[in-house]
Amino acid sequence: MNEWLGEEKKVCIGPHHPVTRGGMNFIASLDGETLRQAIPEIGYCHRSLEKIAENTDYQGFTTYASQADPLSPYSCQWSYVMAVEKLAEITVPRRAEFLRVIAMELNRITSHLHFLSFMAEIIGAKILKAQSFKRAEIFSHYTTTFCGNDNMFLQIGGVVRDLCSSDWETTLIQFLDHLKTFIDEYSYTLKNNYVFQRQLSFTGVISVEEAIQYNLVGPNLRASGLAWDLRKNRPYSIYSELNLEIPTCQRNKGDAHDRVQVRIDEIAQSASLIRQCLEKIPQGPIQCKITEPIKPKTGEIYNCIEGVRGDTGTYLVSNGTTQPHRLKLRTGSFSSLALLEKMGREIPLSDYLTLIASLDISPWEADR
């Protein structure tokens, strides 16, 4: 036990710690309750998806692409599918685009609700955690009734399933109304609860310059004060037809509180997008005719969409065969991880855990 009696002791936060969500490790030097240094270590969830892509055909990899992040299956899947479509010059039917947006926004709500539940758990508010998780479960249920099995929904050239029934739509809209009251309650707690204020405000402040320097994307970047959203700034699919406002933090601090608040605002935003889509959705086919197997012409493409955790990109190189020559997925979680080593110096242990939780890092997405 002599090695414990020194000033600092090394502990591992992970790989099985609630804050890591399953597969990350932080090698931390603790001095009492203060964290001197923490080095993130990844690779526990590595499934070599990018290598698998080189050995499957184009349509076959869509299933794998959804596995990049189980919490937001459509981010990588849509990014990949769109890249192939651009390369092979396939035009997607209009109805399919609307269905894709609905699935993506439902998925965004589910993932953000999981995040709210996770954040409440790390702070210790167990009732708020249970309540958020309940809502997330209900939303997963809606997504499953709509999309069927999560990893099969988006296909090259369209989607596999149409909307279930008008009954499903009405219950969904009712539940979106209910969700509005819930997120209002959550943000009320966030604004007015003393303990929330004490633990989240000024914890892990990331300035805009720092965020750009470390290539933060998505809600984390918006919480730092930069209104950058690919759905608005470089519209793809049908987003240019929809009414969309980019939620950024109101207080321009870029702390953990703002990151939670931005995600709460995004839930409301996604709910409004789903409503607009259900109003405007046209009739028509959901899948275009494609010749199997897909053989894009030789060339390369980089395509990015606004996933749940920000800018999700796919770099695809084709050599004219039925299999991709090279594939690279770019995800938001990986760049957030780079920041954690810098931020984890001379702060209390609980603050560091709150910081990790507030960045909404998904280890599966970081490792791929």
Partner: protein
């Protein structure tokens, strides 16, 4: 020491044979302790499931066997011991915690006659064992030979130290007010009616009551004052390496401490088992034991109310961080306690027999607060069931 030894000799010496002593321990644990634990545990589960909106133990009344289910499950599990632990200490720690809790039952009165020992130093005895409640956490954390467990143990000790210091101050305020260290005496000095309780005797005892609630939550390690066994932060702290029956014993010691501290709050501030004299005369008609049972019912009702209030607080508020907790305790709560102590001294000097006007005023304040609280409760219940009513109509 002489006082303490004479206390033991006077009270437990009649039971000299080992058989009698074993029977005594058996009754203490299985007849008194376990039913109380089951009740407390059940209420905790009910309130948690109601608050979080899940179908848990709160779903129906039949789930009163829910704690029994958990207990049976844990008893079946293997008690693992890793090779690198300090085995004797590791195995002993839960039972040390358990015995510190069970032994406090000796002086805890359930009615005017249902008490194992009529001790003149009951409060002192009790606070000694409350002081010892932090020891088993340190034993468990150190012997687990794990850094997270050690951090948890040190946190737990820090936190119990804060709580115990506050509790000592509360006991001092009560003793100054009542000039007695016997729990029965303290109860008998109060009356059955709210304005006769120590809680409403002066503003300072009211402050002491609030302090005792805070210190209670620190000692039993529950939110809003508790992160020592937080599972999302330090892997359940010192409990992290325990499984099976040892984990079960650790859990029920915590629940037992919860019940006993709530019972102490009832005795010290809420008039304990005191029931109106008319009830007792009426009860004595049926059987000489009946008044005691009425008194026990009153005591249990009050205690469970305290348990209920604490559980509502603990389910509503998120926990403070440890350094915030320490700051709060040593910068604000302990000075407040010392002020209340000085205030009580002055109050007893000015009003040796108490001031009836203050007592009425303070109890009226409580009634107002209670009505407001229930109004809010009903309002929110209405809000939560409103969509369901609307849905049925449609």
């Amino acid at each position: 020491m002489e006082v303490l030894s004479s206390f033991f000799l006077n009270n437990i010496s009649p039971m000299v044979s080992i058989g009698a002593q074993l029977t005594f321990i058996f009754i203490l644990i299985f007849v008194i302790f376990f039913p109380l634990i089951t009740l407390t545990y059940w209420i905790e589960q009910v309130i948690y499931s109601r608050f979080s909106g899940i179908r848990g133990a709160g779903h129906s009344l039949y789930n009163i066997i829910f704690p029994m289910k958990i207990i049976t499950k844990l008893l079946q599990k293997e008690s693992q011991t890793d090779p690198y632990i300090d085995r004797p200490l590791f195995c002993l720690a839960p039972y040390v915690g358990f015995s510190t809790v069970v032994l406090t039952l000796i002086v805890l009165p359930f009615s005017s006659h249902y008490v194992l020992s009529h001790s003149d130093l009951g409060v002192l005895y009790l606070i000694t064992f409350i002081f010892l409640m932090g020891i088993h956490a340190l034993m468990a954390g150190w012997s687990s030979n794990s850094k997270w467990a050690l951090i948890g143990a040190v946190r737990s000790l820090t936190q119990s130290l804060c709580g115990i210091t506050l509790y000592g101050l509360v006991i001092m305020i009560i003793t100054l007010q009542t000039h007695s260290l016997s729990i029965q005496d303290i109860i008998q000095m109060q009356g059955p009616h709210p304005w006769q309780w120590l809680l409403f005797l002066s503003p300072f005892t009211l402050a002491a009551f609030l302090l005792s609630l805070s210190s209670l939550m620190m000692i039993i390690d529950q939110p809003p004052y508790g992160t020592a066994t937080s599972s999302s932060e330090i892997h359940s702290g010192y409990k992290g390496h325990y499984t099976g029956i040892r984990y079960f014993v650790l859990t029920i010691s915590n629940k037992g401490a919860f019940f006993i501290l709530s019972a102490m709050t009832t005795h010290l501030f809420l008039g304990g088992w005191q029931a109106p004299a008319s009830w007792l005369y009426w009860a004595a008609v049926f059987s000489p034991q009946f008044p005691n049972i009425i008194e026990m019912g009153v005591f249990l009702f009050k205690t469970l109310c305290v348990v209920w209030i604490i559980l509502i607080l603990q389910n509503t508020l998120p926990p403070l961080r440890l350094d915030h907790l320490i700051k709060l305790t040593w910068k604000y709560l302990i000075p407040l306690g010392l002020t209340a102590l000085a205030g009580t001294a002055i109050w007893t000097y000015i009003f040796p027999d108490g001031n009836l006007f203050t007592q009425y005023l303070l109890s009226l304040l409580l009634v107002t607060f209670g009505i407001y609280f229930f109004y809010r409760l009903l309002y929110h219940t209405y809000l939560s069931i409103k969509p369901r009513i609307k849905g049925k109509k449609a």
